[in-house]
Symmetry: C2
């Protein structure tokens, strides 16, 4: 079962949410979200490995590595300001928000995570967040997902939600997309909550596997952000009979959110689903797939709807993985365009491949040898709308 | 002394050139160039390390590693077809061109290099090249540089030439730019000829140093081609008194050509000169500089003329080199925008930085610590013209 309409998301036992406008974004747009776990939740998190991780990310990392890891009582997320490259005042601002939320909710600040997304290098107006918290706490609602998911958006065209129910266990995730907001870098954030009774080590493993197969397989523009964070929180209200099924459902929720993010990449008109097969191992396959997905020449061809296999070949050979033109096969939309040294681009093949390139999702398959390594990534195209979104807004 | 007007390039003793149209490009556009060294030349070459190196590149590599390396008598360069991903027939076509040229010039095929640039994956019409060779040989002229430089162009807006004279030694270089031709990937090619009397090992060293400081420091779109080749040929007609000065002059010619290439990057409106200082070593500085120069977000900000230091910081922290926001300084056009944890973007600073961003070349300086490592690269911007050039031509 899955659904991406946030108004009909199921309740997750032990989770309340709320969203509000606290005045970081202009014009009263929602910019503050709260997750509350009244009885606490065990949690796992993955964060960006950017060298300039934002203050809330560094605070989260410290809490994650504490022993024992504190039980999670709340997550406070603001949009409109990334609290990144903000020096000592940024760390103090993140702590101040956690302290204020803990006071309102009757817990310890170490039980509150904070996340931020938005402009880099501008001091976080933590006073506005703190002032808005009492009303936000008052608005907490087990069915409050829609308001929370709206409050974490930046350049997203709409909220991103996904859910599964498996063996009585519910899993609900929301995310915001990878893109920019004027005038600076934004973030990819995702929050997955479940009522499953799972221990911390299991949550760590499940989240790592799910993120590797989802959020780590999408490419918008290749720039990694200072704030990327995925949190998995489990309230322990429902006994788990089949751990594998729950792990699978968490992976599906993450993949669904990840695909929403890449489809909503800034200015994206279509996405490529790039599968590499026959590599010596999965890691090499992933390197090749990512290099193809990052190539501006492949991305502009995707935008132009042009089945230009030469660009795909050129990008594949640029990944640093040994490759031989006689071992290479390139397919677009199931049409073989190049095989083992031979250009297969007849007029008929080209017409069918061009039709495939005109679809919203374009399957690109690259076989690089006889190895067992495979990987799939999803990449958005690169077109005029991306440039307009990222260059023209201040003109 | 330097000059980039190909009509007034000086003669280089022992070098003749010619250019013609052989029918690979449509409409009789020039597409075939010939360099002839009647008394032979010692030579060095650097080529792409792409995994799918074109047939002529692989042939060149084999000749370069022969012992002894054959004396160079000619270079035949065609545009309009890259002879890449062309399987066994591609190797045969390259050999056929070399054999035909050798027959016309009275030398051995191993003394003839061939290079190709243009569309990938289409069989090279070597018959057209071979048929044009007799007339091309007949047109050889010590002052023929202009026709040769026109014949190797693809999407270049104009020929790219540079020269130096130092202590009686002349050095003349021509290049074609990094860009695309419809419908596929093109190449960066450069040929530097000198009358200096230099041995092969010295030429190898001088070219490696010159390429590292020039062609390896420019970024258009980050896609590496299957055909990139730089050849340095020395006819030995003039004794060298000061090797250091000659090496420096070769480096200057290569840098001048490289900067012409990046300035003429497809759709480029302006370029960034990105200098990284204070890294642990030069290699780390170069990694950071390249990551900044490759970032689509930095490149679109450059296009938009937006002094968006957050994007520069985000890219710098994405290079995999350890970085601390308290060690980081970012300047645009000499204006300090961010220093050691503090946003310095007052309205005055922003106005002056925006004025600097409106220039053709934008100096961007990033200090990442107290180390001695430095590097400078030049990167073109990313704007609507790039997308138009690479996505819209088949629409």
């Amino acid at each position: 079962m899955s659904h991406s309409d946030s108004s009909s998301l199921p309740l997750v036992a032990g989770v309340e949410t709320a969203g509000a406008a606290c005045g970081i974004k202009p014009a009263g747009r929602p910019d503050l979200a709260l997750w509350h776990f009244p009885d606490g939740a065990r949690w796992a998190a993955t964060v960006t490995n950017h060298q300039l991780r934002a203050a809330p990310v560094r605070r989260l990392e410290a809490l994650r590595s504490a022993s024992p890891r504190p039980l999670l009582r709340a997550i406070v997320v603001n949009s409109g300001n990334a609290n990144a490259c903000t020096g000592h005042s940024g760390m103090a601002a993140a702590e101040s928000v956690a302290t204020a939320a803990a006071r309102e909710l009757g817990c310890d600040p170490s039980q509150v995570l904070t996340c931020s997304t938005g402009v880099i290098g501008v001091p976080l107006p933590d006073d506005r967040i703190c002032a808005a918290l009492p009303d936000l706490v008052g608005a907490l609602d087990p069915a409050g997902w829609a308001r929370a998911s709206a409050a974490i958006m930046t350049t997203d065209n709409g909220p991103k939600t996904a859910w599964r129910e498996i063996g009585g266990v519910r899993i609900v995730g929301i995310a915001k997309g990878a893109g920019m907001i004027a005038p600076n870098m934004a973030t990819m954030l995702a929050y997955v909550c479940t009522d499953a009774d799972l221990d911390e080590a299991t949550l760590d493993d499940m989240l790592a596997a799910a993120v590797d197969a989802s959020f780590n397989r999408i490419i918008v523009d290749g720039d990694q952000s200072t704030n990327d964070t995925v949190v998995l929180a489990a309230t322990g209200k429902v006994a788990v009979r089949d751990r594998g099924a729950v792990a699978q459902a968490i992976r599906e929720v993450c993949l669904e959110l990840a695909l929403m993010i890449v489809r909503d990449g800034e200015g994206a008109r279509r996405i490529g689903r790039i599968t590499v097969e026959g590599a010596p191992n999965d890691a090499d396959a992933l390197r090749i797939a990512r290099t193809i997905g990052l190539s501006p020449l492949v991305k502009t061809a995707l935008y132009g709807g042009d089945p230009n296999w030469g660009r795909i070949a050129a990008a594949a050979g640029n990944a640093g993985v040994p490759l031989d033109e006689f071992d290479l096969v390139i397919e677009v939309g199931g049409e073989v365009l190049y095989r083992n040294g031979d250009n297969c681009m007849t007029a008929d093949v080209e017409a069918r491949a061009a039709a495939a390139m005109a679809q919203d999702e374009v399957p690109i398959r690259v076989v690089v040898g006889n190895g067992s390594g495979t990987a799939t990534i999803w990449a958005s195209d690169l077109g005029h709308e991306y440039v307009t979104c990222n260059a023209d807004y201040r003109s």
